[in-house]
């Protein structure tokens, strides 16, 4: 499939800290792609580079085949960006904020008015449209920002934690809209909410230490673990640390951990689970839990280096 967004060997350094190092990533046309990573991993930096708010130090980036450095006006014209923080102008009303944004992208006044009207009805901010952003709720302002990013009907949407600060009702509205319009748009978003990433993204990239460490569909990422499962044995009383000793001698067991009353570990061989069970049977067990590796397990495993 044709790539809508391409980043090749992108590097960005802030005050001698390397945020992005030789990062390469491709986002397919008309797909939903999510970037997940720790705080400060560089997720927002990628979006800001693509939209031109910050300059990259090295590498090349293309949006729909156009270089974002040499054909900036063209690439920005087809891109809608929603930042992570509230950046509405506090000296203008919400309506004026949206009108100015529309004009920046050459949207006609009538079209802008009708779109603002439409979004304000969907997100219930019609009553505050002519008020200043100050003292309005965070969720409402985030929904205004989300609407703003869509006002010029961009082909590419760059959303930095789009549902951050929104209540569940607003989150559902956001994803419903993205679901509806996403068929002919390329959406690149970042999130800390792994359930959203699993549910709405066609493709997931895990960003760690300035580079993409894992990339693919959720099935591919989980599939790469070859059936790795997370096992949890809960005891009535807190067992001693010695309980971990037999587990450490089993080579296929990963990340054994005593977490309060619970013993947790990963393995892709179910027989290991029975071996562990036999070794701890002297302690009173109250519950057992087995689950296939999820995105969060992969992510935590990667970040904490245990499953890499």
């Amino acid at each position: 499939m044709e790539a809508s967004i391409t980043l090749k060997s992108i590097a960005k350094i802030f005050d001698s800290d390397t945020i992005l190092a030789d990062l390469s990533i491709g986002v397919e046309n008309n797909s939903n792609h999510v970037i997940i990573g720790q705080n400060g991993a560089g997720k927002s930096t990628i979006l800001k580079i693509l939209v031109g708010i910050i300059e990259k130090d090295a590498g090349v980036a293309y949006i729909h085949g156009k270089d974002i450095s040499t054909r900036a006006a063209e690439t920005r014209m087809v891109t809608g960006y929603m930042p992570q923080y509230i950046d509405l102008d506090s000296d203008m009303t919400i309506y004026e904020n949206l009108m100015v944004y529309s004009e920046l992208y050459g949207v006609s006044s009538n079209k802008a008015k009708s779109r603002i009207q439409n979004f304000s009805e969907i997100f219930n901010y019609k009553d505050i449209l002519f008020k200043y952003p100050a003292n309005q709720s965070l969720g409402l302002l985030r929904s205004v920002q989300f609407s703003r990013a869509l006002l010029h009907d961009p082909r590419v949407l760059l959303l930095d934690e789009p549902t951050l600060g929104m209540d569940p009702q607003y989150k559902i509205k956001v994803w419903n809209i993205l679901d509806r319009i996403g068929k002919d748009k390329t959406i690149l978003f970042t999130t800390q909410d792994f359930s959203e990433a699993e549910k709405f993204a066609d493709r997931i990239s895990i960003l760690h230490r300035g580079d993409i460490k894992m990339d693919g569909t959720i099935e591919k990422l989980v599939g790469a673990t070859k059936g790795l499962s997370k096992y949890e044995i809960r005891f009535k009383d807190t067992p001693s640390e010695n309980i971990l000793d037999p587990l450490k001698e089993m080579p296929k067991i990963l990340k054994p951990l005593l977490n309060g009353n619970s013993l947790e570990f990963y393995s892709n061989d179910k027989k290991d689970f029975f071996r562990v069970l036999r070794s701890v049977i002297s302690s009173e067990i109250v519950d057992l839990d087995i689950s296939f590796c999820k995105l969060i397990d992969l992510y935590l495993g990667l970040v904490e280096n245990g499953l890499e």
Binding site: G52, I54, A72, R76, Y85, D87, D89, M92, V100
Partner: protein, 242 residues
């Protein structure tokens, strides 16, 4: 560019009363606290000092306003959470952003100039013809533009607010008392006379004293402001998108 100016207009609309207060109170304060006290010590030829200093009043008040408006606008581009920063993600280029600031602040400055001139001239029962006012405005325009560009330059390169205030104070003192706005510089050291700014101001004063005036100092000031604009444009690429 219209969108960028429209944003300034929306903000202006909400602060119209404040602007009207500034437009009227600023020249009156200058008149009261600078022109009147100095009128007891300075004697001018042809017309009285209060009349003569009305040009200084108009130029200083409009420059002050232009300086503040431009500085305020350019500093917004430095804050991550500001709408101005977000506007950098739009298809508008850095030059359009800078040009919008210069055009808007010049417009606001010209209105201040007219307010100041009208107020001080009416206080001294002076009669200026409409052609004189147009000529004065044309000569004053490059000064307003250069002040806007200098303000943008300071806003771009100076990150410390303390140094910014310090620099602004030095510039204000030099501008008010070292460029012939309120104190005639005939007897001043010769290096003052090499400044195109001084000659531009002198030319404007010549209009109200019905003396001959020449256009080239204004052109030189305008050319310098174009050069500063280009420098600002180069600096903005390093400052805006980092």
């Amino acid at each position: 560019m219209i969108a960028l100016i429209k944003r300034e207009f929306y903000i202006f609309k909400h602060n119209l009363i404040s602007y009207i207060c500034i437009w009227t109170l600023l020249p009156l304060s200058m008149y009261l606290f600078i022109s009147i006290p100095l009128s007891h010590h300075i004697r001018t030829d042809v017309i009285n000092y209060l009349n003569w200093s009305s040009i200084g009043n108009a130029i200083s008040t409009s420059s002050l306003l232009v300086y503040v408006v431009s500085l305020n606008s350019i500093l917004k581009y430095k804050y991550t959470t500001n709408f101005s920063k977000m506007m950098l993600s739009s298809p508008k280029t850095n030059s359009q952003h800078l040009m919008a600031i210069v055009l808007w602040s010049t417009g606001v400055g010209l209105i201040q100039f007219l307010f100041s001139l009208t107020l001080t001239q009416s206080l001294n029962s002076s009669n200026l013809f409409i052609t004189d006012i147009i000529l004065i405005l044309l000569y004053a325009l490059p000064i307003i533009v250069i002040v806007s560009n200098i303000s943008i330059f300071i806003g771009l390169i100076v990150s410390s607010s303390f140094i910014r205030v310090f620099l602004t104070s030095i510039l204000a003192v030099f501008f008010l008392f070292g460029s012939g706005l309120f104190i005639p510089l005939e007897g001043a050291p010769s290096f003052f006379h090499y400044s195109p700014l001084y000659y531009t101001i002198l030319n404007i004063q010549n209009i109200i004293t019905i003396d001959s005036s020449i256009v080239y100092p204004s052109i030189i000031v305008f050319v310098i402001s174009v050069i500063i604009f280009i420098i600002n444009l180069i600096v903005s690429h390093k400052v805006f998108r980092t």
